[in-house]
């Protein structure tokens, strides 16, 4: 039963990792940009949630109404003002610039919020649970997992059933020809980053309710997101969810064996899958 418990908790934790990863995957899919600052943007969203909840007394989940559009705006401005200039045939400039951005965000947060660990106070939601067959399942992890599924379904639907999604895919396929069709790639990239950071905002708030956070934890979230994307296969959002679940389960099982093994077990699972299936479990079938 304890093992079953570990697997269930790990699966639900995977939902959070999938949310970390979804924005990363979307940005890479549309514009081949690897965003090193992604983890720090998640933490930034958590801090924005903190500011909103302390200033207004709102519940952190209600604060999403403000934090999601704010992060989306930041995303659009960041893409149009900075990241578009780094995109080109060379893959190095975006890596360097987003690495620099990561450092700037971390230090900015340190200046504004200090290094003290913070949490978002979600009241009863933090501890509520339901017992299913002897396993206590937290409402928050369950909600997180449900949100992850909803977000990925929503992104998938946007990609395959809307004009915006069509534009994303067209620009991803061939930037020049998409431009000929009247799509301004700089604007489309801005919208993609806005969408990605909107998802990041959700991930950041859920992270902040689940655990304490401080300005330095972004790097770790980035790694989890990366691992979920790579395990699932680049460009496949449902694969990303599976990747998150595998990572989460590996971590909780590792922690079950020895509490010190939690992170290590996740990384080992990632390395094993990378060794056996270098393209991930469900790589996108390219045309």
């Amino acid at each position: 039963m304890e093992w079953l418990n570990a697997i269930v908790q790990g699966t639900l934790l995977g939902g959070l990792y999938a949310l970390f990863a979804a924005g990363l995957s979307l940005i890479f899919g549309v514009m081949r940009l690897v965003n090193i600052a992604h983890g720090d943007l998640i933490v930034l969203a958590a801090y924005l949630g903190l500011t909103v909840t302390t200033a207004t007394g709102m519940h952190p989940m209600a604060a999403l109404v403000i934090v999601v559009p704010t992060m989306a705006l930041i995303g659009y401005a960041l893409q149009r003002g900075l990241l578009n200039q780094t995109l080109g045939d060379d893959i190095l400039p975006p890596l360097l610039v987003t690495f620099g951005l990561s450092v700037i965000i971390q230090n900015g947060l340190l200046e504004v919020y200090t290094a003290d660990p913070q949490t978002l106070n979600a009241g009863a939601l933090e501890t509520a649970s339901v017992a299913v067959g002897g396993v206590a399942i937290g409402i928050l992890p369950l909600l997180t997992f449900a949100i992850a599924i909803a977000v990925i379904w929503g992104l998938q639907w946007t990609f395959y059933h809307t004009a915006l999604g069509r534009a994303f895919r067209a620009v991803s396929d061939n930037q020049d020809i998409a431009q000929l069709m009247g799509l301004n790639r700089r604007h489309i990239f801005g919208l993609a980053m806005a969408l990605a950071l909107g998802v990041t905002a959700i991930a950041g708030i859920l992270l902040g309710i689940r655990t304490s956070f401080d300005p330095s934890i972004g790097g770790g979230r980035l790694i989890f997101g990366f691992e979920a994307v790579i395990i699932g296969g680049l460009g496949n959002l449902w694969g990303t969810l599976v990747g998150g679940v595998i990572l989460g389960v590996a971590q909780t099982i590792g922690a079950k064996i020895d509490p010190g093994w939690q992170l290590l077990a996740g990384h080992i699972a990632f390395l094993v899958i990378l060794a056996v299936r270098p393209n991930g479990l469900f790589p996108r079938i390219s045309g």
Binding site: A163, A170, D173, N174, I177, Q179, M181, G182, N184
Partner: protein, 235 residues
């Protein structure tokens, strides 16, 4: 000649330090079909890329309906009513046939061309509308590329090497469909290696040679010798 819809004046185009076009002067009349011929590397595709805004040009070198479009981005040029069927078709592999067509309508221009009109022109595309564009034959892909450009309801349409890599029977079909396509008051530039095909559908012909215009003549009066000379530079 009727009023020009498109004019280039002293057009110089570059790929980095390499100059591909030299002082190109070209006029397309309203409703006119123009052919551009020339050997490989003569600058035909470069000229198309300059006109559509995929290459950055110097100011004042390209005018569309009197407006200087030389510095506009490709999407801004497209909104003015200029569409291209690119060389090698260049469909979007992630998009279905129907989605490829719909992306052409993204510029939001009104006119006779919509999905139904394209399906009427190329009925096979309606049968295949939900397939991946990459699963089609070369000729069918070319139909999608033409349909995609038409969906923008352009006033000037550019065909860049539509016959390249296609079977002769398919080329014949496409050229038979062309007058019906262009007939609706549209102007067109047809870039073609097949000189006879180019002359048969156009009213005037330009020949490019090493980035310069080497010939400009009415298509029905141009002689074989004129073309050979312009094409190869043999006196």
């Amino acid at each position: 000649m009727p009023d020009p819809i498109l004019q280039t004046r002293g057009l110089n185009s570059f790929y980095g330090d390499f100059q591909a076009l030299y002082e190109v002067e070209l006029d397309v009349g309203e409703g006119e079909v123009l052919a551009i011929i020339g050997a490989n590397g003569a600058g035909k595709t470069t000229l198309m890329r300059s006109i559509t805004g995929l290459l950055t040009n110097g100011p004042g070198q390209i005018h569309y309906r009197g407006q200087d479009i030389s510095r506009l981005r490709a999407d801004e040029v497209a909104e003015l009513g200029l569409a291209m069927v690119p060389e090698g078709r260049q469909l979007f592999p992630s998009l279905s046939v129907k989605e490829n067509l719909m992306i052409g309508a993204q510029v939001g221009r009104k006119g006779p061309w919509d999905l139904k009109a394209v399906y009427d022109l190329f009925p096979i595309l309606e049968e295949r509308k939900d397939q991946a564009s990459t699963s089609l034959s070369g000729g069918q892909q070319q139909m999608v590329a033409i349909g995609r450009a038409l969906m923008a309801n352009p006033d000037l349409i550019l065909f860049d090497e539509v016959s390249l890599g296609l079977a002769p029977i398919i080329i014949k079909d496409i050229y038979e469909a062309l007058p019906g396509i262009i007939g609706e008051g549209m102007s067109a530039i047809i870039v073609e290696q097949d000189i006879n095909k180019a002359l048969s559908v156009s009213s005037r012909v330009y020949c490019l040679q090493e980035g310069r215009v080497s010939l400009e003549r009415a298509s029905d009066t141009v002689s074989r010798e004129d073309i050979s000379r312009a094409y190869f530079g043999i006196e």
